[in-house]
Symmetry: C2
Subunit: 343 residues, 2 copies
């Protein structure tokens, strides 16, 4: 799994040696960072005209990721992306992150360097600085904890709670791809375990594999909404699946939602893979998760501003029926939407 030929045992380095190795070539870019990695805490200068936005996530091996088919570089990249996605979902800009890892003795220095390469790539792309973290031993596997610090103007932030009845429900990109990519890789893993001489067959499915392994956060959409002078009335990012996020918006805004099945944006590869697995593509789009697209509501008056954008789809609208989320099929049937984690 780890392709580097040389392997350095982490015990030889010691905790402080490891941190030094992983961060020695890293130079923070943001002039507001007064003290970064290497002290008890980081010190930041804050912009007095902005509010600060803070989010945190914990990822656990074999629960949130499977290293059998996730290269460590991709894992590092995805760990950053999935976290900053929460900051964009507040209509804010991520600036700094802390990264903590607990790792078992199976990890080598070279493996951790791979992981950090992915982290650095994401930080570069999204213009973020690493300001600290913690390294620890774990009895089993890898656990990653990231905290992101961002900023937003007081008049621009968007929570989950501002949606009003009749607001339009919009989603960016397409849905269910990351989930179908996951299903595909799980299948190929089973094939490989049964017969280690088989090579994984991912041909023709690069898009959904990429959605699972190297997702992006929708910074571009946040920038676009700002250009278009559209401030969503509520917003959330899709990490647990459309159905679950919809319930969050409904609960916090005290509204309901009707969404139209035929409006759900689903990529061709997702459709094909769903059909190969005998799965319902709508269910994948509703419950798949990890797409890191944005789900938001806008005032109807803003519809003209966004309607010609290919990357934003209006999939339904908010109703007055608090917490009732319904899917309307092309035939006009209505179903209550259910979601995991909402018992």
């Amino acid at each position: 799994m780890f392709e580097n030929s040389s392997k350095t045992n982490l015990e030889k380095l010691g905790e402080f040696g490891l941190i030094k190795k992983l961060t020695e070539n890293y130079t923070p870019k943001n002039p507001d960072l007064i003290k970064g990695i290497g002290d008890d805490a980081a010190i930041l200068k804050t912009n007095s005209e902005k509010l600060q936005v803070i989010s945190t996530d914990l990822m656990v091996e074999n629960i949130n990721f499977d290293l059998a088919y996730t290269p460590l570089k991709h894992l590092g990249y995805k760990a950053v992306v999935s976290n900053i996605s929460d900051i964009y979902a507040m209509n804010a800009t991520p600036k700094f992150i802390t990264i903590s890892v607990a790792l078992s003795s199976k990890y080598t220095l070279e493996a951790m360097e791979e992981f950090y390469t992915g982290i650095y790539l994401a930080c570069e792309k999204y213009d973020i600085d690493i300001i600290g973290g913690d390294t620890n031993t774990s009895p089993q596997g890898l656990t990653i904890s990231i905290t992101v610090i961002g900023e937003v103007s007081p008049d621009k932030y968007v929570t989950r709670s501002g949606c009003k009845p009749n607001d339009l429900l919009c989603v960016t990109g397409d849905l269910g791809g990351a989930y179908m990519g996951h299903q595909l890789m799980e299948r190929e893993k089973r094939v490989f375990l049964a017969n280690p001489e088989m090579q994984p067959d991912l041909e023709g499915y690069d898009y959904i594999v990429g959605r699972q392994l190297k997702p992006e956060a929708r910074k571009d959409v946040i920038d676009l909404l700002s250009e278009l002078s559209v401030k969503p009335t509520s917003m959330i990012d899709i990490s647990d699946g459309l159905a679950s996020e919809l319930k969050h918006l409904a609960l916090e805004s005290n509204v309901g939602f009707n969404i139209y099945e035929e409006k759900l944006p689903v990529d061709t590869q997702t459709l094909e893979m769903a059909s190969e697995f005998n799965m319902d593509a709508t269910m994948c789009a509703l419950n798949g998760g990890e797409d890191f697209e944005l789900l938001f509501t806008i005032d109807q008056a803003d519809f003209e501003k966004i309607k010609s954008n290919m990357d934003i789809t209006v999939i339904g609208y908010a109703t007055e029926q608090a917490n009732i989320c319904q899917l309307i099929t092309p035939a006009g049937n209505q179903f209550d939407i259910k979601a995991q984690g909402w018992n």
Copy 2:
């Protein structure tokens, strides 16, 4: 281990049900918190005259804590204290924390409520607000990740790197107690495992047991130094042991240290327990860790201001010999100080 009689399986609640249960009675106190738990991210107003200070820690079951003798309430309390201790070590004030936990299916709602009771107690005592977090499943045990956000005036913060040769090295409280408390509880655990009818014998050792199970952060010392108008030239908190922290100060300040064995502050219970275990009390004080006392250096001109304070001990001084840390025995012998994690 969990004393509550009713047990609620976490799967029944779902992730969002659990977070709601654990936080439903929690009301943040700080008016600068614009949006707390319950959105993609928290939103804070920052004080434009202050800098922001951020630190993070990861604690792993059976590596950093043993639930065989650590009540979950104490664990929650200690998790907060050990984190905010890093903020005090910057001469700053902690204001907000995020808490993430990954937990296996052995944990019940009642167990998590115990854990959060300890967290809330520490937040109350140190005047901190919880602003967010994450809850996740773990294949094994409990992992806790906490990030603390604090603030400090630009002219007051203290890093590890400002110490000059001849500065005096000071330590607060006493050392080695948490470690000896740990040794004692490990022994009683072994006795209990060998014969479950034996009750743990901790009598006469309440101080060192308390040092291990319910440590405090030295907010009082930070307040005192401010009253005395003493700004340390460098500072760190003692989490990995005096020896390791000394090496951090030496490395970052490019100095060395001479410390006097007979000056090391060690409590009577620590001495007695060390003698019972046939251990060298000096080694316990040097390498014990988890005392969460502050280690700092001051200009010699400030000695008069602190000399009569019972809670601060001058244990040595900084030298020009970069990275050479030496222990001087009462007989005048000198030994190089070694520390774990520094290979």
